[in-house]
Protein backbone atom coordinates (compact mmCIF):
# COMPACT_ATOMS: atom_id res chain seq x y z
CA UNK A 1 0.00 0.00 0.00
CA UNK A 2 2.77 2.41 0.94
CA UNK A 3 4.42 1.61 -2.37
CA UNK A 4 1.37 2.64 -4.39
CA UNK A 5 0.94 5.72 -2.16
CA UNK A 6 4.54 6.66 -2.96
CA UNK A 7 3.88 6.29 -6.70
CA UNK A 8 0.74 8.43 -6.54
CA UNK A 9 2.49 11.10 -4.47
CA UNK A 10 5.31 11.11 -7.05
CA UNK A 11 2.88 11.38 -9.92
CA UNK A 12 0.78 14.22 -8.51
CA UNK A 13 3.73 16.21 -7.19
CA UNK A 14 5.65 15.94 -10.48
CA UNK A 15 2.58 16.93 -12.49
CA UNK A 16 1.93 19.93 -10.23
CA UNK A 17 5.59 20.94 -10.24
CA UNK A 18 5.87 20.72 -14.04
CA UNK A 19 2.71 22.79 -14.52
CA UNK A 20 3.72 25.38 -11.94
CA UNK A 21 7.23 25.66 -13.31
CA UNK A 22 6.05 25.90 -16.93
CA UNK A 23 3.68 28.72 -15.98
CA UNK A 24 6.42 30.45 -14.01
CA UNK A 25 8.74 30.02 -16.99
CA UNK A 26 6.80 32.59 -19.02
CA UNK A 27 7.65 35.17 -16.33
CA UNK A 28 11.25 33.97 -15.93
CA UNK A 29 11.75 34.19 -19.68
CA UNK A 30 10.45 37.74 -19.91
CA UNK A 31 12.56 38.87 -16.95
CA UNK A 32 15.70 37.22 -18.36
CA UNK A 33 15.05 38.74 -21.80
CA UNK A 34 14.69 42.06 -19.99
CA UNK A 35 18.09 41.62 -18.32
CA UNK A 36 19.79 40.79 -21.62
CA UNK A 37 18.09 43.60 -23.50
CA UNK A 38 18.92 46.15 -20.82
CA UNK A 39 15.34 46.78 -19.64
CA UNK A 40 13.15 45.63 -16.74
CA UNK A 41 10.58 43.22 -18.15
CA UNK A 42 7.32 42.67 -16.23
CA UNK A 43 7.93 44.10 -12.73
CA UNK A 44 4.59 45.67 -11.73
CA UNK A 45 2.38 42.86 -10.40
CA UNK A 46 3.50 41.56 -7.01
CA UNK A 47 7.10 41.33 -5.79
CA UNK A 48 9.49 41.40 -8.79
CA UNK A 49 6.44 41.07 -11.01
CA UNK A 50 6.09 37.40 -10.14
CA UNK A 51 2.29 37.64 -9.99
CA UNK A 52 2.30 38.55 -13.68
CA UNK A 53 1.55 34.88 -14.44
CA UNK A 54 -1.60 35.05 -12.27
CA UNK A 55 -2.73 38.15 -14.14
CA UNK A 56 -1.97 36.48 -17.47
CA UNK A 57 -3.88 33.31 -16.62
CA UNK A 58 -6.92 35.29 -15.38
CA UNK A 59 -6.86 37.18 -18.67
CA UNK A 60 -6.58 33.97 -20.72
CA UNK A 61 -9.35 32.19 -18.83
CA UNK A 62 -11.84 35.04 -19.04
CA UNK A 63 -11.35 35.73 -22.75
CA UNK A 64 -14.00 34.63 -25.22
CA UNK A 65 -13.40 31.04 -26.28
CA UNK A 66 -14.17 31.31 -29.97
CA UNK A 67 -14.25 28.54 -32.56
CA UNK A 68 -14.34 30.01 -36.08
CA UNK A 69 -17.44 28.87 -38.01
CA UNK A 70 -15.28 27.80 -40.98
CA UNK A 71 -13.04 25.57 -38.85
CA UNK A 72 -13.19 21.76 -38.57
CA UNK A 73 -14.57 21.83 -35.02
CA UNK A 74 -13.58 18.39 -33.69
CA UNK A 75 -9.98 18.61 -34.92
CA UNK A 76 -9.75 22.30 -33.92
CA UNK A 77 -10.58 21.40 -30.30
CA UNK A 78 -8.43 18.26 -30.32
CA UNK A 79 -5.23 19.89 -31.61
CA UNK A 80 -4.16 22.01 -28.59
CA UNK A 81 -4.66 19.12 -26.18
CA UNK A 82 -2.19 16.88 -28.04
CA UNK A 83 0.85 19.07 -27.40
CA UNK A 84 0.15 19.37 -23.67
CA UNK A 85 -0.69 15.66 -23.26
CA UNK A 86 2.34 14.32 -25.13
CA UNK A 87 4.79 16.67 -23.38
CA UNK A 88 3.39 15.79 -19.95
CA UNK A 89 3.36 12.05 -20.76
CA UNK A 90 7.02 12.24 -21.76
CA UNK A 91 7.79 13.63 -18.30
CA UNK A 92 6.69 10.26 -16.87
CA UNK A 93 10.01 8.67 -17.87
CA UNK A 94 12.33 11.51 -16.78
CA UNK A 95 14.40 10.34 -13.79
CA UNK A 96 14.47 13.39 -11.53
CA UNK A 97 16.30 11.87 -8.53
CA UNK A 98 17.09 8.31 -7.37
CA UNK A 99 13.62 7.80 -5.87
CA UNK A 100 11.69 10.53 -7.71
CA UNK A 101 10.13 9.73 -11.06
CA UNK A 102 6.84 8.29 -12.30
CA UNK A 103 7.87 5.12 -14.16
CA UNK A 104 11.13 3.27 -14.64
CA UNK A 105 10.58 2.12 -18.21
CA UNK A 106 13.18 -0.07 -19.92
CA UNK A 107 12.49 1.76 -23.20
CA UNK A 108 12.36 5.19 -21.53
CA UNK A 109 14.42 6.96 -24.19
CA UNK A 110 12.28 5.54 -27.01
CA UNK A 111 9.14 6.55 -25.12
CA UNK A 112 10.42 10.12 -24.99
CA UNK A 113 11.16 10.07 -28.74
CA UNK A 114 7.72 8.59 -29.45
CA UNK A 115 5.94 11.28 -27.46
CA UNK A 116 7.93 14.08 -29.05
CA UNK A 117 7.17 12.71 -32.52
CA UNK A 118 3.44 12.58 -31.71
CA UNK A 119 3.56 16.19 -30.52
CA UNK A 120 3.94 17.28 -34.17
CA UNK A 121 0.26 16.52 -34.80
CA UNK A 122 -0.82 19.28 -32.47
CA UNK A 123 0.71 22.01 -34.60
CA UNK A 124 -0.04 20.40 -37.95
CA UNK A 125 -3.68 19.65 -37.18
CA UNK A 126 -4.18 23.01 -35.47
CA UNK A 127 -2.96 24.69 -38.65
CA UNK A 128 -5.15 22.55 -40.88
CA UNK A 129 -8.33 22.71 -38.80
CA UNK A 130 -8.23 26.52 -38.61
CA UNK A 131 -8.97 26.58 -42.35
CA UNK A 132 -6.98 29.77 -42.77
CA UNK A 133 -4.14 30.24 -45.23
CA UNK A 134 -1.64 31.58 -42.68
CA UNK A 135 -2.43 28.76 -40.26
CA UNK A 136 -2.11 26.20 -43.04
CA UNK A 137 1.30 27.58 -44.05
CA UNK A 138 2.36 27.43 -40.41
CA UNK A 139 1.16 23.83 -40.24
CA UNK A 140 3.14 22.92 -43.38
CA UNK A 141 6.29 24.44 -42.02
CA UNK A 142 5.80 22.70 -38.68
CA UNK A 143 5.32 19.30 -40.34
CA UNK A 144 8.41 19.62 -42.55
CA UNK A 145 10.61 21.18 -39.86
CA UNK A 146 9.75 18.81 -37.05
CA UNK A 147 9.91 15.72 -39.26
CA UNK A 148 13.36 16.69 -40.58
CA UNK A 149 14.78 17.52 -37.17
CA UNK A 150 13.27 14.42 -35.58
CA UNK A 151 15.32 12.21 -37.89
CA UNK A 152 18.64 13.24 -36.41
CA UNK A 153 17.21 13.86 -32.94
CA UNK A 154 16.88 10.10 -32.53
CA UNK A 155 20.22 9.40 -34.23
CA UNK A 156 22.01 11.96 -32.02
CA UNK A 157 20.96 10.00 -28.94
CA UNK A 158 22.12 6.62 -30.21
CA UNK A 159 25.72 7.44 -29.24
CA UNK A 160 24.58 7.84 -25.64
CA UNK A 161 22.68 4.55 -25.89
CA UNK A 162 25.81 2.80 -27.23
CA UNK A 163 27.94 4.08 -24.36
CA UNK A 164 25.38 3.30 -21.67
CA UNK A 165 24.23 0.04 -23.30
CA UNK A 166 20.60 0.73 -22.42
CA UNK A 167 17.47 2.68 -23.36
CA UNK A 168 16.60 3.01 -19.67
CA UNK A 169 17.13 6.62 -18.56
CA UNK A 170 18.10 5.58 -15.02
CA UNK A 171 20.80 3.27 -16.40
CA UNK A 172 22.02 6.12 -18.62
CA UNK A 173 22.36 8.43 -15.61
CA UNK A 174 24.11 5.69 -13.63
CA UNK A 175 26.56 5.16 -16.52
CA UNK A 176 27.70 8.78 -16.17
CA UNK A 177 29.01 8.22 -12.63
CA UNK A 178 32.63 8.74 -13.71
CA UNK A 179 32.31 10.99 -16.75
CA UNK A 180 29.33 12.97 -17.98
CA UNK A 181 28.39 12.10 -21.55
CA UNK A 182 28.78 15.74 -22.60
CA UNK A 183 32.52 15.01 -22.99
CA UNK A 184 32.62 11.84 -25.15
CA UNK A 185 29.34 12.78 -26.89
CA UNK A 186 30.01 16.45 -27.55
CA UNK A 187 28.75 16.08 -31.14
CA UNK A 188 25.67 14.26 -29.90
CA UNK A 189 25.03 17.03 -27.39
CA UNK A 190 25.35 19.74 -30.04
CA UNK A 191 23.04 18.03 -32.53
CA UNK A 192 20.51 16.99 -29.89
CA UNK A 193 20.32 20.54 -28.54
CA UNK A 194 19.63 21.95 -32.02
CA UNK A 195 17.02 19.26 -32.68
CA UNK A 196 15.48 19.90 -29.27
CA UNK A 197 15.09 23.61 -29.91
CA UNK A 198 13.53 22.83 -33.29
CA UNK A 199 11.13 20.32 -31.70
CA UNK A 200 10.11 22.86 -29.05
CA UNK A 201 9.71 25.46 -31.86
CA UNK A 202 11.83 28.04 -30.02
CA UNK A 203 13.03 31.23 -31.57
CA UNK A 204 15.73 30.45 -34.09
CA UNK A 205 13.37 27.69 -35.25
CA UNK A 206 9.94 29.24 -34.68
CA UNK A 207 9.06 29.37 -38.38
CA UNK A 208 5.68 27.66 -37.86
CA UNK A 209 4.45 30.80 -36.09
CA UNK A 210 6.82 33.49 -37.39
CA UNK A 211 4.62 36.45 -36.59
CA UNK A 212 6.04 38.93 -39.05
CA UNK A 213 5.00 36.87 -42.09
CA UNK A 214 2.26 34.47 -40.92
CA UNK A 215 0.29 36.59 -38.38
CA UNK A 216 0.74 33.95 -35.67
CA UNK A 217 1.17 30.86 -37.84
CA UNK A 218 -0.64 27.72 -36.76
CA UNK A 219 -2.42 29.32 -33.79
CA UNK A 220 -3.73 32.42 -35.58
CA UNK A 221 -7.37 31.38 -35.03
CA UNK A 222 -6.93 30.20 -31.46
CA UNK A 223 -8.06 32.28 -28.51
CA UNK A 224 -8.56 31.99 -24.78
CA UNK A 225 -7.53 28.75 -23.09
CA UNK A 226 -7.07 26.83 -26.36
CA UNK A 227 -4.28 29.27 -27.17
CA UNK A 228 -3.24 28.92 -23.51
CA UNK A 229 -2.76 25.17 -23.99
CA UNK A 230 -0.44 25.74 -26.97
CA UNK A 231 1.41 28.26 -24.83
CA UNK A 232 1.70 25.95 -21.81
CA UNK A 233 2.60 23.07 -24.12
CA UNK A 234 5.51 25.07 -25.53
CA UNK A 235 6.88 25.83 -22.07
CA UNK A 236 6.39 22.23 -20.90
CA UNK A 237 8.26 21.25 -24.06
CA UNK A 238 11.19 23.53 -23.21
CA UNK A 239 11.32 22.16 -19.67
CA UNK A 240 11.18 18.61 -21.03
CA UNK A 241 13.99 19.13 -23.55
CA UNK A 242 16.15 20.79 -20.89
CA UNK A 243 15.49 17.96 -18.44
CA UNK A 244 16.39 15.43 -21.16
CA UNK A 245 19.63 17.25 -22.04
CA UNK A 246 20.57 17.20 -18.35
CA UNK A 247 19.64 13.52 -17.99
CA UNK A 248 21.42 12.33 -21.12
CA UNK A 249 24.51 14.52 -21.23
CA UNK A 250 25.06 16.24 -17.87
CA UNK A 251 24.73 13.35 -15.46
CA UNK A 252 21.11 13.93 -14.37
CA UNK A 253 20.98 14.13 -10.60
CA UNK A 254 24.68 13.31 -10.13
CA UNK A 255 26.86 15.88 -8.39
CA UNK A 256 28.86 16.44 -5.21
CA UNK A 257 27.66 17.86 -1.85
CA UNK A 258 24.16 19.07 -2.75
CA UNK A 259 21.21 16.61 -2.68
CA UNK A 260 20.37 14.94 -6.05
CA UNK A 261 17.08 16.80 -6.51
CA UNK A 262 18.78 20.19 -6.13
CA UNK A 263 21.46 19.22 -8.67
CA UNK A 264 18.83 18.15 -11.19
CA UNK A 265 16.78 21.34 -10.81
CA UNK A 266 19.88 23.54 -10.91
CA UNK A 267 21.24 21.97 -14.10
CA UNK A 268 17.81 22.04 -15.76
CA UNK A 269 17.39 25.70 -14.91
CA UNK A 270 20.79 26.56 -16.38
CA UNK A 271 19.90 24.80 -19.65
CA UNK A 272 16.55 26.63 -19.77
CA UNK A 273 18.34 29.95 -19.23
CA UNK A 274 20.62 29.09 -22.18
CA UNK A 275 17.48 28.49 -24.30
CA UNK A 276 16.19 31.94 -23.35
CA UNK A 277 19.56 33.48 -24.14
CA UNK A 278 19.45 31.86 -27.59
CA UNK A 279 16.07 33.47 -28.16
CA UNK A 280 17.50 36.85 -27.18
CA UNK A 281 20.61 36.45 -29.34
CA UNK A 282 19.71 34.74 -32.63
CA UNK A 283 17.69 35.89 -35.63
CA UNK A 284 15.26 33.60 -37.42
CA UNK A 285 16.72 31.83 -40.50
CA UNK A 286 14.99 31.64 -43.86
CA UNK A 287 12.92 28.50 -44.40
CA UNK A 288 15.19 26.89 -47.03
CA UNK A 289 18.22 27.67 -44.83
CA UNK A 290 16.52 25.80 -41.99
CA UNK A 291 15.90 22.70 -44.12
CA UNK A 292 19.37 22.75 -45.70
CA UNK A 293 20.97 23.13 -42.26
CA UNK A 294 19.05 20.16 -40.91
CA UNK A 295 19.66 17.75 -43.77
CA UNK A 296 23.09 18.84 -45.02
CA UNK A 297 24.89 19.73 -41.80
CA UNK A 298 23.25 18.17 -38.78
CA UNK A 299 22.34 14.76 -40.23
CA UNK A 300 25.87 14.00 -41.57
CA UNK A 301 27.29 15.23 -38.26
CA UNK A 302 25.19 12.73 -36.27
CA UNK A 303 26.21 9.94 -38.64
CA UNK A 304 29.89 10.81 -38.16
CA UNK A 305 29.31 10.83 -34.41
CA UNK A 306 27.69 7.39 -34.62
CA UNK A 307 30.60 6.00 -36.67
CA UNK A 308 33.20 7.33 -34.23
CA UNK A 309 31.29 6.16 -31.16
CA UNK A 310 30.72 2.74 -32.70
CA UNK A 311 34.40 2.38 -33.54
CA UNK A 312 35.47 3.41 -30.01
CA UNK A 313 32.96 1.08 -28.34
CA UNK A 314 34.03 -1.81 -30.58
CA UNK A 315 37.75 -1.28 -29.97
CA UNK A 316 37.20 -1.01 -26.20
CA UNK A 317 35.15 -4.22 -26.06
Amino acid sequence: MSESARIWANLILILAAVFAFSALLSWIERRLLGVWQDRYGPNRVGPFGILQIVADSIKLLTKEDWVPPFADKAVFVLAPTIVAVTALLAFAVVPIAPDIGVVDLNIGLLFFLAMSSLGVYSVVLGGWASNNKYSLLGGFRAAAQMLSYEVFMGLALMGVVMLAGSFNLRDIVAAQENLWFCVPQILGLATFTVAGIAEARRLPFDLPESENELVAGFHTEYSSMKFGLFFIGEYVGITLISAMIVTLFFGGWLGPLLPPLVWFLLKTFIVIACFVLLRAALPRPRYDQLMAYGWKVMLPLTLVNLLITGAVVLSAA
Partner: protein, 183 residues
Protein backbone atom coordinates in the same frame (compact mmCIF):
# COMPACT_ATOMS: atom_id res chain seq x y z
CA UNK B 1 -2.86 -7.61 -18.51
CA UNK B 2 -5.35 -9.59 -20.60
CA UNK B 3 -7.98 -6.86 -20.17
CA UNK B 4 -5.59 -4.23 -21.59
CA UNK B 5 -4.93 -6.50 -24.55
CA UNK B 6 -8.62 -6.93 -25.38
CA UNK B 7 -9.37 -3.26 -24.80
CA UNK B 8 -6.59 -2.00 -27.06
CA UNK B 9 -7.41 -4.64 -29.67
CA UNK B 10 -11.04 -3.50 -29.65
CA UNK B 11 -9.89 0.12 -30.04
CA UNK B 12 -7.70 -0.91 -32.97
CA UNK B 13 -10.56 -2.70 -34.75
CA UNK B 14 -13.06 0.11 -34.11
CA UNK B 15 -10.61 2.80 -35.23
CA UNK B 16 -9.76 0.86 -38.38
CA UNK B 17 -13.46 0.54 -39.23
CA UNK B 18 -13.75 4.31 -38.83
CA UNK B 19 -10.77 4.77 -41.18
CA UNK B 20 -12.65 2.95 -43.92
CA UNK B 21 -15.98 4.68 -43.41
CA UNK B 22 -14.89 8.35 -42.95
CA UNK B 23 -15.57 10.63 -45.89
CA UNK B 24 -13.02 13.28 -44.86
CA UNK B 25 -9.48 12.13 -45.59
CA UNK B 26 -7.93 13.92 -42.59
CA UNK B 27 -10.46 12.37 -40.20
CA UNK B 28 -9.72 8.94 -41.67
CA UNK B 29 -5.99 9.53 -41.13
CA UNK B 30 -6.59 10.56 -37.52
CA UNK B 31 -8.43 7.28 -36.90
CA UNK B 32 -5.59 5.43 -38.60
CA UNK B 33 -3.16 7.04 -36.13
CA UNK B 34 -5.37 5.91 -33.23
CA UNK B 35 -5.40 2.42 -34.73
CA UNK B 36 -1.58 2.36 -34.96
CA UNK B 37 -1.26 3.55 -31.35
CA UNK B 38 -3.66 0.78 -30.24
CA UNK B 39 -1.58 -1.80 -32.14
CA UNK B 40 1.51 -0.44 -30.36
CA UNK B 41 -0.19 -1.07 -27.02
CA UNK B 42 -1.01 -4.61 -28.18
CA UNK B 43 2.68 -5.17 -28.99
CA UNK B 44 3.64 -3.80 -25.57
CA UNK B 45 1.20 -6.09 -23.76
CA UNK B 46 2.45 -9.09 -25.73
CA UNK B 47 5.97 -8.45 -24.44
CA UNK B 48 7.60 -6.54 -27.29
CA UNK B 49 8.23 -3.03 -25.87
CA UNK B 50 10.93 -2.23 -28.44
CA UNK B 51 8.65 -2.96 -31.39
CA UNK B 52 5.84 -1.01 -29.67
CA UNK B 53 8.08 2.06 -29.36
CA UNK B 54 9.23 1.78 -32.98
CA UNK B 55 5.60 1.43 -34.12
CA UNK B 56 4.78 4.77 -32.47
CA UNK B 57 7.97 6.56 -33.58
CA UNK B 58 8.06 5.39 -37.19
CA UNK B 59 4.45 4.68 -38.19
CA UNK B 60 2.39 7.02 -36.00
CA UNK B 61 5.04 9.71 -35.60
CA UNK B 62 6.76 9.89 -38.99
CA UNK B 63 4.97 8.11 -41.84
CA UNK B 64 1.52 9.32 -40.84
CA UNK B 65 2.80 12.89 -40.50
CA UNK B 66 3.85 12.68 -44.15
CA UNK B 67 0.39 11.37 -45.09
CA UNK B 68 -1.28 14.22 -43.21
CA UNK B 69 1.16 16.66 -44.84
CA UNK B 70 0.23 15.52 -48.36
CA UNK B 71 -3.51 15.46 -47.64
CA UNK B 72 -3.25 18.97 -46.18
CA UNK B 73 -1.41 20.16 -49.27
CA UNK B 74 -4.15 18.78 -51.55
CA UNK B 75 -6.62 20.87 -49.53
CA UNK B 76 -9.64 18.70 -50.32
CA UNK B 77 -12.80 20.57 -49.47
CA UNK B 78 -16.38 19.48 -48.97
CA UNK B 79 -16.70 18.46 -52.62
CA UNK B 80 -14.22 15.62 -52.05
CA UNK B 81 -16.15 14.43 -48.99
CA UNK B 82 -19.40 14.36 -50.99
CA UNK B 83 -17.70 12.37 -53.74
CA UNK B 84 -16.29 9.94 -51.15
CA UNK B 85 -19.77 9.41 -49.74
CA UNK B 86 -21.09 8.62 -53.21
CA UNK B 87 -18.36 6.05 -53.71
CA UNK B 88 -19.11 4.31 -50.43
CA UNK B 89 -22.19 2.41 -51.69
CA UNK B 90 -22.89 -1.25 -50.82
CA UNK B 91 -21.89 -2.28 -54.33
CA UNK B 92 -18.42 -0.88 -53.70
CA UNK B 93 -17.69 -2.43 -50.32
CA UNK B 94 -19.59 -5.73 -50.60
CA UNK B 95 -16.84 -7.62 -52.43
CA UNK B 96 -13.92 -6.67 -50.16
CA UNK B 97 -16.14 -7.14 -47.09
CA UNK B 98 -16.98 -10.74 -48.07
CA UNK B 99 -13.31 -11.56 -48.72
CA UNK B 100 -12.29 -10.02 -45.37
CA UNK B 101 -15.05 -11.91 -43.59
CA UNK B 102 -13.68 -15.15 -45.03
CA UNK B 103 -10.19 -14.31 -43.73
CA UNK B 104 -11.65 -13.40 -40.33
CA UNK B 105 -13.52 -16.72 -40.15
CA UNK B 106 -10.30 -18.55 -41.02
CA UNK B 107 -8.39 -16.64 -38.33
CA UNK B 108 -11.03 -17.39 -35.68
CA UNK B 109 -11.00 -21.08 -36.69
CA UNK B 110 -7.20 -21.25 -36.23
CA UNK B 111 -7.33 -19.36 -32.92
CA UNK B 112 -10.07 -21.62 -31.53
CA UNK B 113 -8.12 -24.70 -32.60
CA UNK B 114 -5.00 -23.48 -30.73
CA UNK B 115 -6.47 -22.91 -27.30
CA UNK B 116 -3.20 -23.63 -25.58
CA UNK B 117 -1.52 -20.43 -26.80
CA UNK B 118 -1.62 -17.87 -23.99
CA UNK B 119 -2.06 -14.25 -24.94
CA UNK B 120 0.00 -12.46 -22.33
CA UNK B 121 2.65 -13.36 -19.83
CA UNK B 122 5.53 -14.11 -22.19
CA UNK B 123 8.98 -12.87 -21.32
CA UNK B 124 9.59 -9.42 -22.76
CA UNK B 125 11.82 -9.30 -25.84
CA UNK B 126 14.30 -6.45 -25.38
CA UNK B 127 16.04 -4.35 -28.00
CA UNK B 128 19.26 -6.43 -27.80
CA UNK B 129 17.45 -9.61 -28.84
CA UNK B 130 15.64 -7.78 -31.65
CA UNK B 131 18.98 -6.49 -32.96
CA UNK B 132 20.69 -9.88 -32.77
CA UNK B 133 17.78 -11.52 -34.62
CA UNK B 134 17.67 -8.81 -37.28
CA UNK B 135 21.38 -8.97 -38.01
CA UNK B 136 21.64 -12.76 -37.56
CA UNK B 137 19.09 -15.01 -39.25
CA UNK B 138 17.26 -12.14 -41.00
CA UNK B 139 20.33 -10.29 -42.31
CA UNK B 140 19.37 -10.89 -45.97
CA UNK B 141 15.90 -9.42 -45.41
CA UNK B 142 17.34 -6.33 -43.71
CA UNK B 143 19.80 -5.77 -46.56
CA UNK B 144 17.08 -6.20 -49.20
CA UNK B 145 14.83 -3.75 -47.39
CA UNK B 146 17.67 -1.23 -47.19
CA UNK B 147 18.27 -1.66 -50.95
CA UNK B 148 14.60 -0.92 -51.57
CA UNK B 149 14.81 2.21 -49.45
CA UNK B 150 17.99 3.27 -51.26
CA UNK B 151 16.21 2.89 -54.59
CA UNK B 152 13.38 5.07 -53.30
CA UNK B 153 15.89 7.64 -52.07
CA UNK B 154 17.72 7.77 -55.41
CA UNK B 155 14.39 8.09 -57.22
CA UNK B 156 13.25 10.95 -55.01
CA UNK B 157 16.63 12.64 -55.44
CA UNK B 158 16.33 12.34 -59.24
CA UNK B 159 12.80 13.80 -59.24
CA UNK B 160 13.81 16.66 -56.99
CA UNK B 161 16.98 17.46 -58.89
CA UNK B 162 16.92 20.50 -61.13
CA UNK B 163 20.16 21.77 -62.53
CA UNK B 164 20.73 25.48 -62.90
CA UNK B 165 20.39 25.42 -66.72
CA UNK B 166 17.13 23.47 -66.67
CA UNK B 167 15.67 25.94 -64.20
CA UNK B 168 16.70 29.02 -66.17
CA UNK B 169 15.41 27.57 -69.48
CA UNK B 170 12.12 26.80 -67.74
CA UNK B 171 11.72 30.36 -66.53
CA UNK B 172 12.79 31.62 -69.96
CA UNK B 173 10.08 29.64 -71.70
CA UNK B 174 7.61 30.98 -69.15
CA UNK B 175 8.57 34.55 -69.84
CA UNK B 176 8.53 33.80 -73.59
CA UNK B 177 4.96 32.60 -73.59
CA UNK B 178 4.08 35.56 -71.41
CA UNK B 179 5.63 37.90 -73.93
CA UNK B 180 3.79 36.23 -76.83
CA UNK B 181 0.45 36.60 -75.12
CA UNK B 182 0.96 40.29 -74.79
CA UNK B 183 2.59 40.67 -78.17
Amino acid sequence: MEATFYLSAAVAVAATLMVVTRASAVHALLYLIVSLLAVAVVFFVLGAPFVAALEVIIYAGAIMVLFVFVIMMLNLGNAAAVKEREWLRPGMWMGPAILSALLLAELIYILVGNEGAAIAGRAAVDSREVGITLFGPYLLGVELASLLLLAGLVGACHLGWHTESAWSSHSESLSDSHGHEHG
